[in-house]
Each structure stands twice: as structure tokens, then as C-alpha cells.
């Protein structure tokens, strides 16, 4: 599957692994007979992906959600190298983390075309009103959270057996989330994604007593459930 050439470049032999979907423009070079074609993320409008947004179809819905990044599919026989703007890459093996990862579309570098990618609402994270409360209130709250963190209301979910390559400025490190461990909290700007059954809740630590004295950590993303969260060593957006 994907192998790291260095901290910023991955290579993949598509003759052995099958077609690979990657962010447009991220191909550095290839050897062999490889054909690149535009690729669409599935599940945009056809009911499954975005609850309550069924009326707005596919492409338009994704653009509206801001959760859209042009991708291309590489098919054929050969070895392809991918990298993007000198940003560190991180390979996630979905088989080891519960078969699913949720990550911003802009942070997805490449994944096997056999994996299922879809756009999902942040409110339905982790399968059950994870946005903080459930119902209409939960949806509203997660929408507000999206505005504050710049994460948007929607996120991309990739699932299936295989590997996903994600991007993190300054490198990505993993923190395990489990009910047996102390709770994990992440700076929303440093949050890259989460795999497994992880729900994220945006929490403000500002109260009437400490306005302006939170030490620059006013907004925090609480992660609960079972899985892994991915954090980058920077607060840079991609």
C-alpha cells in the first residue's frame, strides 16, 4: 500500500493495490503507465450522506457545505508519488482503527479507490447526535461550532479496509481515546480528524468569571468514545 518516502511524500504501487484517489494536483511524479482522471466523491446528494440536505443534489450540496476538494483517480500500472505543499503526511490504516475516519476534505491527500468516501454532517458524528445534544438543538449547536472553529458543518468520512493518507502541518500525532482513559481535549485549530467511534463536542471554557483570562484556550474540542484522534503540531488551516 502507501509507503512514506520521507515525512512529506508517499508513494504507492497502483499496479498492486488498485486505483488510488488523490487530491488534485498532489501527484509529484510517476513511473509506468498511469492514467489520471477527475473523480467525484460519492454520496453527496443521494440521501445517505447529508441528512436534511437531500433536496440539494450532489455537487452543489458539497460546494455549499464547503466540504469539497477536487480529486483525481489514478489507474493503470506503476508507482505514483504524492505530496502537497510541503506539508507532512500521515498514513492511517483503517483496518487498525475501526474501519472509518472522519477528516476535513482539505486534509485528505490520498486513499484507495476501493474505500467509500462520503460527506457527512458533523452533527451526526459517531452515529448519534454527537454534535452536542441531538435533535434540532444539537444541529444548531454544531453549526455554531463549525462557524467558530472554521471546520464547517460537514466533514468527509472514509471507510472500508485500506489506508488513508492525511495532511498535518508540522506532522500528525495520534492520541488514543477510550472510555477507560482520561478524557482527551484538542485545540479546534490543531484538530485534524478522528477515527473509530469518536464524538467531538465543542466547549467554551469562557465563563462570566474568566472572560479574557483563559490564556488563549477559550475553545476546546472534547473527544469521547473509542478510537484515535489526529492532532497536528500547529494551528494552521489547510
Amino acid at each position: 500500500m502507501f509507503t512514506k518516502v520521507n515525512s512529506k511524500v508517499v508513494s504507492v504501487d497502483i499496479g498492486r493495490t488498485g486505483p488510488v484517489v488523490a487530491r488534485k494536483g498532489a501527484m509529484l511524479f510517476y513511473k509506468g503507465e498511469v492514467l489520471f482522471q477527475p473523480h467525484q466523491i460519492a454520496g453527496g446528494g443521494m440521501g445517505g450522506g447529508m441528512p436534511g440536505m437531500g433536496a440539494i443534489g450532489g455537487m452543489a450540496g458539497r460546494m455549499l457545505a464547503g466540504e469539497h476538494e477536487s480529486t483525481m483517480i489514478a489507474q493503470g500500472n506503476g508507482e505514483v508519488h504524492y505530496g502537497y505543499r510541503g506539508i507532512e503526511v500521515h498514513i492511517v490504516d483503517l483496518g487498525q482503527v475501526g474501519g472509518t475516519i472522519r477528516v476535513e476534505a482539505s486534509r485528505l491527500l490520498a486513499y484507495g479507490a476501493n474505500l467509500q468516501a462520503s460527506v457527512v454532517s458533523v452533527a451526526s458524528q459517531g452515529g448519534g447526535g454527537g454534535g452536542g445534544g441531538g435533535g434540532l438543538f444539537g444541529a444548531l449547536r454544531s453549526a455554531a461550532a463549525g462557524v467558530v472553529t472554521g471546520q464547517g458543518m460537514f466533514t468527509t468520512q472514509v471507510s472500508g479496509p485500506g489506508q488513508v493518507v492525511i495532511l498535518g502541518h508540522g506532522g500528525v500525532f495520534e492520541i488514543e481515546v477510550s472510555p477507560q482513559k482520561p478524557p482527551v481535549t484538542v485545540d479546534p485549530q490543531a484538530f485534524v480528524g478522528a477515527s473509530g467511534q469518536v464524538t467531538t463536542t465543542l466547549r467554551s471554557t469562557v465563563s462570566w468569571r474568566n472572560v479574557g483570562r483563559t490564556g488563549g484556550e477559550a475553545m476546546q474540542l472534547e473527544c469521547a468514545g473509542q478510537g484515535v484522534v489526529y492532532v497536528q503540531a500547529s494551528e494552521e488551516k489547510l
Binding site: F173, T185, G215, A233, E235
Partner: protein, 206 residues
């Protein structure tokens, strides 16, 4: 309570009902129960510190993380270095300071006329006491350069990060008729260190 290098760019602090001070906003994640609050500026305590910050421009805004758990600190993908201080004084550029651990005092002192033209200011932050300091450096890991009486060291003020030991600094100018007619080398002002100690620089200029 210990600072540990998690990766090149991430420092983790293990808290056990204790506290560390860090650059405001440098937390990227934490496990456990940790609270963050503003801990003033690098110039010491109280109202005087605030005034000092205004007057000197050494703007180091700190926060205090306290509780029990593991806190991860990183800043803008810069590389990090942990330095142990054993009742020593570290002179450091305030913008390169990320985490302070243990029994350390920070202060802002007059550093002489260096950098008056390089924009680095006339003042420097000092860290004194016993504990660990995590510094950030751009462009790669810190480069530690030894200074001994026979071999004084001259560094670019824009690459200077910190210095410790029995050192005195002076300001070297290399302005000649060449600079006037635009043939200068671009290194007109330098920092010279004499004495015994270690000076650390980063492989990038601010």
C-alpha cells in the same frame, strides 16, 4: 512533573496536580482534567509587569495549565528543544519561549544597545532558577555553539535564540564606506559574545 519531547515539534508536559506555564494558545491537545488561565507576561508579577511589557515591547503572553493529565504543546510547526536549567540564568528571545516548568522566574532586563536597528529591541527576557524550558526554533533544531575566552562568538541578532553561562554581550557594527555606497555585505550588525557559556541559534532569520 516533567517535560518530554513527544516528537520533533511537540512537547508533552505530564501534570500530577501541578502546573506549567506556556505561551498563550500553544496547547494543541490534552488528556485528563486540565484548566487553562492567563498567567500574565514574562516581566515578573503584578501591575509592574504589565507596565514593563508595554514599555519594553518584550511581549510574552503566558498561560498557566494546571491539573492532572498530559498536555501537548506545539507552535506553528516550529521545532522544539528542551533545556534543563540548574540554578542558572538563561537569556532568551521572548518569542522563542514555549513552555516553562518548575521553579523558574522570568524577567525582562536591559540587554544593551544590541539590535537597536534590527528590530529585536533593547530588552531581553531572562529565565532564572531550577527547571525545564522548552524553546521553539524555525528552520530546524537549535544549534548550540560553545563560547570560551579564547574563542568569542559573533552571531546574527536575527538568528539568536538564547544564551547561558558567564557571558557578556556586545554589539558589533561593520559599517564602512562600502555600506554607504550600497556595497555592504548585509551583515552590518552582529552580536558578539565573550566569556564562557553556550549560545544557541536557529537556522533561520526572523
Amino acid at each position: 512533573m516533567q517535560l518530554v519531547q513527544r516528537s520533533k515539534r511537540v512537547v508533552e508536559a505530564r501534570l500530577n496536580n501541578t502546573a506549567v506555564r506556556a505561551l498563550s494558545g500553544s496547547m494543541v491537545a490534552y488528556e485528563g482534567q486540565v484548566a487553562f488561565k492567563s498567567a500574565g507576561f514574562g516581566g515578573g508579577d503584578g501591575v509592574l509587569a504589565g507596565l514593563k511589557q508595554r514599555a519594553t515591547g518584550e511581549g510574552l503572553s503566558l498561560m498557566e495549565a494546571s491539573g492532572t493529565g498530559v498536555v501537548y504543546f506545539a507552535h506553528d510547526a516550529a521545532e522544539t528543544t528542551i533545556i534543563e536549567l540548574n540554578n542558572e540564568t538563561l537569556q532568551v528571545e521572548s518569542e522563542q519561549l514555549m513552555v516553562l516548568n518548575g521553579n523558574l522566574q522570568t524577567n525582562v532586563t536591559f540587554a544593551g544597545l544590541r539590535g537597536a536597528s534590527s528590530g529585536q529591541g533593547l530588552f531581553t527576557t531572562t529565565v532564572t532558577g531550577h527547571g525545564q524550558v522548552a524553546l521553539i526554533s524555525n528552520g530546524g533544531p537549535l544549534i548550540h555553539l560553545e563560547v570560551s575566552p579564547q574563542y568569542p562568538l559573533v552571531v546574527d541578532p536575527d538568528a539568536f535564540v538564547c544564551a547561558r553561562g558567564q557571558l557578556s554581550q556586545s554589539f558589533v557594527t561593520d559599517v564602512s564606506w562600502r555600506s554607504v555606497i550600497g556595497q555592504g555585505s548585509g551583515e552590518a550588525f552582529s552580536l558578539r559574545w565573550d566569556g564562557t557559556g553556550v549560545v544557541s541559534i536557529q537556522p533561520a532569520e526572523r
